[in-house]
């Protein structure tokens, strides 16, 4: 049906969506690039109407030169890596458990997915006030019940706490994708392996895990894209203190707290570059799983 006529029609009909998407992406990108080469401090009277001074790469050198830069990159990678580690491993375990026939399966599956429906801001607040609060939190009560000194989660163990909160949010996603993958495994393959003399652990290692590799790849790729830009959880809990300042949070501070749009924009460009480096690495490591 791909006549010349239908191809033209297809292009015309696709055009609005493509133009919208391009605009959506290109306009902010161009503006970010534009501001990153300008001195733009709104509180000192700089404005678009008065014209902005061209400062070349000064914003870029200042952003990297800041003592917060490398720690923020490190914090970003630790959070992304930590959450991926937790969600992939627990996701596989949960997916295997949920695949077992059990009573109330439908309800349990909905419960498992539920955290994904909670807004990041809300879930972070719930964790901060109801679980991790050193005086009133449930975890504090648990610690006291066993006679231990309650942990000041968000200050003493800020990074693990943050990873815990974000993992809790993303575990449903990982579980859901991995569960569908587990369910698509041909049961005859497992039976064949069983007949071939493979005990459960070896069946998991040689049959189930390779079958899941594609789903794991997808989980890692999608989560990385979203986790590189987590913001609400940090804003609500630590406010960037105690070593939890990620790159996206640092950019937020430069633009809104220091009111330095140019410097923040330069940071934004660095974030784009970092995201691309991570993406290339991921593609090389796990991308080969996608074309098998």
């Amino acid at each position: 049906m791909a006549t010349k006529h239908s191809r033209v029609a297809a292009r015309v009909m696709l055009a609005p969506a493509v133009i919208l998407l391009l605009g959506w992406m290109l306009v902010p990108l161009t503006m970010t690039l534009f501001f990153s080469f300008k001195k733009y401090l709104p509180l000192r009277g700089d404005s678009m109407a008065n014209g902005l001074d061209w400062v070349g790469f000064e914003n870029y050198t200042r952003f990297v030169g800041s003592s917060s830069f490398w720690p923020s990159v490190q914090a970003t990678l630790v959070i992304v890596g930590g959450v991926l580690f937790v969600t992939v491993i627990l996701g596989i375990v949960l997916a295997l458990l949920l695949d077992q026939p059990m009573w109330g399966q439908g309800v349990v599956r909905i419960l498992v997915i539920a955290p994904f429906f909670v807004m990041p801001t809300v879930s972070a607040l719930v964790w901060k006030n109801m679980f991790m609060d050193p005086v009133n939190g449930l975890l504090a009560h648990l610690w006291k019940f066993f006679g231990a000194e309650p942990l000041q989660w968000l200050s003493q163990a800020s990074m693990p706490s943050l990873i815990l909160i974000v993992s809790w949010q993303w575990l449903p996603f990982a579980t859901l994708i991995l569960l569908t993958a587990v369910q698509s495994l041909d049961s005859e393959q497992l039976e064949a392996a069983e007949m071939d003399g493979a005990p459960y652990i070896k069946r998991f290692w040689f049959i189930v895990l390779p079958h899941l590799s594609r789903a794991i790849t997808i989980v890692i790729l999608i989560q990385t894209i979203f986790l590189l830009s987590i913001f609400a959880e940090i804003f609500v809990t630590t406010g960037g203190a105690f070593g939890t300042k990620t790159l996206s949070y640092l950019i937020f501070q430069r633009v809104l707290e220091s009111q330095n749009v140019g410097l923040g924009s330069a940071g934004g460009v660095y974030a784009i570059i970092l995201a691309n480096i991570v993406a290339i690495f991921l593609m090389r490591i796990v991308g080969k799983n996608l074309d098998a």
Binding site: Q189, E191, A192, E194, M195, D196, A198, H211
Partner: protein
Amino acid sequence: MGRIQLKQVKKAFGDVTVIPPLDLEIEDGEFVVFVGPSGCGKSTLLRLIAGLEDTTSGIIEIDGKDATGLPPAKRGLAMVFQSYALYPHMSVRKNIAFPMKMAGLSPEEQNRRIEAAAKALNLTDYLDRRPGQLSGGQRQRVAIGRAIVREPAAFLFDEPLSNLDAALRVGMRLEISELHKRLATTMVYVTHDQVEAMTMADKIVVLQAGVIEQVGSPLELYHSPRNRFVAGFIGSPKMNLIEGPEAAKHNAHTIGIRPEHLTVSTDSGDWHGTVGVSEHLGSDTFFHVKIDGFAEPLTVRVGGDFDLHYGDAIQLTPDPALIHKFDAKGLRIT
């Protein structure tokens, strides 16, 4: 060695009894085919022997030893599945090596057996490919190769040819029979196709609703079916079963006559009728004949060049020695 005995084996899923207590003996080196319509419990029976399902009660003995409680891997049986169940992420070589790797065989021994199996099954050129790059027949051979290298006491086949096209099926049928002759190992084969059963089996087990209707060699089943079900199931096209006054003439509730045991003539015969649909196969022609006074049309087989057409008058005469008689319960009257 591969002698399998089922003693009062029963299988129930909850309240539903799939296989009522059943006895069966499979001798060493035999090619036994379980055949029956879908849902008759033949695959369940095979899975019970394999150990993939637990028996509800009864004993399964392999080579005289009680294997009822043994896990599948310890029974010394190899299975070929309907979907082949190859491991898609492993090469053919690794697929075939998998059971040996699990058994902890030395790499030299593994390689020796892989080469031998690959040579026997014409897979030598494909050893480094993945299952996804193979055709259906080749995948089937890999699955068989994976079974052979274990040197099992018996092979279990679960409808292995049903995913292949008709031409390939005939070829694979021959290859499996050939393999059986060469290895002389017990084979248990499940199929719903009575042609496969007739052509391959030393012994056919006809099942219906979990019950064994008859056990016997293909020709025993063809010549003296124990009841109406076996009579109708074995043979292609199906045996004609006639009830009513015509059967009463032979002192039976039902009489059966195979399409190939009817003599066709245009001028004289016992039964008069008209030709309905005719199926020309070249070597044979099947006429569906509406006989005056019979409820069901009869099928009759004649030579390929018989010139009769839709609506023509036809006369049929059954061979009196080859009429099968059944009583009201469907059992054979001798």
